[in-house]
Amino acid sequence: MPDAPGLELIAHEINERHEGAVVGTSYEHEQAALLADPDSIREVLAYLKDAPGHEYRFLASLHGADYLPAEPRFAVHYELLNMPRVERLRVKALLPDPGDGTLPELDSVTGLFATADFQEREVYDFFGIVFRGHPDPRRILMPEDYVGFPQRRDFPVGGDPVIFTNTEDSVPGWTK
């Protein structure tokens, strides 16, 4: 783990090369996180992967989160790992909800990390975050014709309509 000052140095270094790419840092429970601008997530991750002295070559995990009611609401987390130094670094892209049913978008990192393929599909499946440039942008765990993104915080639990046996006549449009 980079410590808190080390994290600031990394943020400063990336911002020198890509203006405004890192918008903040957080350090809690001995875990370091960079808050990245969603539009330059690929540049940030590519820099951390390849720049000498960083070389976070292993993407341990990629997952989404919904911080409703906070704004920006969505986040995609990239858990980077440098194996020789045993250092972990989290990169967080915070995404606002565009509203009126449009889905938030983010660049896919499958070109940098092949492992991101399934995990980006999972984030799309559950949070409705579209990954631009993903080779196979389909749902992965939910059925392909499913409507809605079930891990969003405003998605109801147990809200699916169910047609009950013997009373199906009461459903509008139902024919035997």
Partner: protein, 436 residues
């Protein structure tokens, strides 16, 4: 096949520039499809000339180890395209966890990867303890290591038994399940349940081990190394098993790392990466054990790595039961841990806290944490977000089966469809963990 016609230098030999030793082991088995060469059968395997035949393997097929569907495009018997389709046992566990208080989440996450329930529990409890900044007592840590390593042996036994079954060796299945049952007996003794034990609690473990448990564990540890030798004797001299595993499903170390593969699959490819050695989520540094690794990353290496991991786990279990420290088995934080039963009759405060802990659950301060541990299939990581209430905002399990499944394409494309079954078995995916 006559081995004399397949020696280096012979026109039929796959790669005339390298000796079998340089290729790694005896590269004269059923490797035509995977070694680039010039003989007629190799040409068939490498050049795309005929139309493709699309079949679905699964979702209901005993060799898919669960409800996994593989869309396979075949050219003759050679796999050209492979797409895993998952989600048939998706039950929304992660979403359900958001509606439970923390202590009720524990039995939920256990049911994700149903062969490594202790690892799911440890990842979740560890993440919660990190957010609470709660230290667990030494005896609890030792008991956790003891059960985790027994669980690792159990999981590898099921993996080995079903793998051998897929390759036609049914007796291995019964032998492995015989030893597995002994481990389940031990789990039943310590926790009351054979599977999905809910033995780990935030702050430690639920109960101390009962009288007589240590002797049973020692007897198991004395017995197990000999059993592992017997498995090795059964498989290592089995010509069919060797031909179906050696040089099959080779994926390089670099590609495995790129695909995010962890666990025995990565170690079989030669990367000595094990979180037990480099991380301090539990005091593994006080134990003496080795990390077995493979050389070229074929199915034989994967089998050997798992076999030797069982040996090392037996050693850890032995050390854990011999050096089990005395003391409490759960932390003494009354805001998180249930008070002892005997206090409820005499202490009003204990009664109130017991009531609040059971009905509402303990509250976890706001924060987020990613907590990875080394399981039998690789890195189990829980990503946990807390908002200060008694229910988590987000529980995500980074399940190794889900990530490792992406490497199946690299193992199978260009190989025979029969080897696909062997590769899938050696990948050892648990669909409950993939679909969650």
């Amino acid at each position: 096949m006559n081995p004399t016609t397949r020696t280096p230098g012979h026109p039929d030999y796959a790669d005339t520039t390298r000796t079998p030793e340089q290729l790694g082991r005896d590269a004269v088995g059923r490797t035509e499809a995977q070694v680039i060469g010039t003989s007629p059968i190799e040409r068939t395997a490498i050049e795309r000339e005929e139309e493709l035949f699309t079949i679905n393997m699964g979702p209901h097929h005993p060799a898919t180890h669960g409800v996994l569907r593989l869309l396979v495009e075949l050219e003759g018997e050679v796999v050209r395209v492979l797409k895993p389709m998952v989600g048939y046992v998706h039950t929304g566990i992660e979403k359900s966890c958001e509606t439970m208080s923390y202590w009720k989440v524990i039995p939920f996450v256990e049911r994700m990867d149903y062969l490594s329930y202790f690892f799911n529990m440890e990842a979740f409890c560890g993440a919660t303890e990190k957010l609470l900044e709660l230290e667990i007592p030494r005896r609890a840590a030792w008991l956790r290591i003891l059960h985790l390593e027994l669980n690792r042996i159990h999981s590898h036994l099921v993996g080995l038994g079903t793998t051998a079954l897929d390759l036609g060796a049914i007796s291995m299945f019964w032998y492995c399940f015989r030893e597995r049952d002994k481990i389940l007996d031990l789990f039943e003794m310590s926790s009351g349940q054979r599977m999905h034990t809910r033995y780990f609690q935030v702050g430690g473990v639920v109960e101390d081990i009962p009288v007589g448990f240590a002797e049973r564990v020692k007897a198991f540890c004395a017995d197990m190394p000999e059993r592992i030798d017997q498995y090795a004797a059964l498989l290592d001299q089995n010509e069919i098993f060797l031909q179906r595993t050696k040089n099959i499903g080779v994926v390089s170390r670099e590609r495995m790392l790129d695909l995010g593969v962890t666990g025995p699959l990565l170690r079989a490819a030669g990367e000595p990466w094990d979180l037990r050695k480099v991380d301090d989520y539990l005091p593994y540094s006080e134990f003496d054990f080795n990390i077995p690794i493979g050389t070229i990353g074929d199915n034989y290496d994967r089998y050997r790595v798992r076999l030797n991991e069982m040996r090392e786990s037996v050693r850890i279990v032995e050390q854990a039961i011999d050096g089990l420290p005395e003391g409490p088995w759960i932390a003494d934080d009354r805001k998180v841990v249930l008070p002892p039963r005997d206090e409820l009759g005499t202490s009003m405060e204990a009664l109130i806290h017991h009531f609040k802990l059971v009905t509402e659950g303990f509250r976890v301060p706001p924060g987020e944490v990613y907590f990875p541990i080394e399981g039998p299939r690789g890195e189990y990581g829980v990503f946990l977000v807390a908002d200060g209430s008694s229910k988590p905002v987000r529980v995500h399990m980074r399940d190794p089966s889900f990530v490792n499944l992406q490497s199946l394409r690299d193992m199978c494309v260009g190989g025979y469809v029969a080897d696909l079954i062997a590769n899938l078995a050696m990948l050892d995916p648990i669909l409950g963990g993939i679909d969650r």
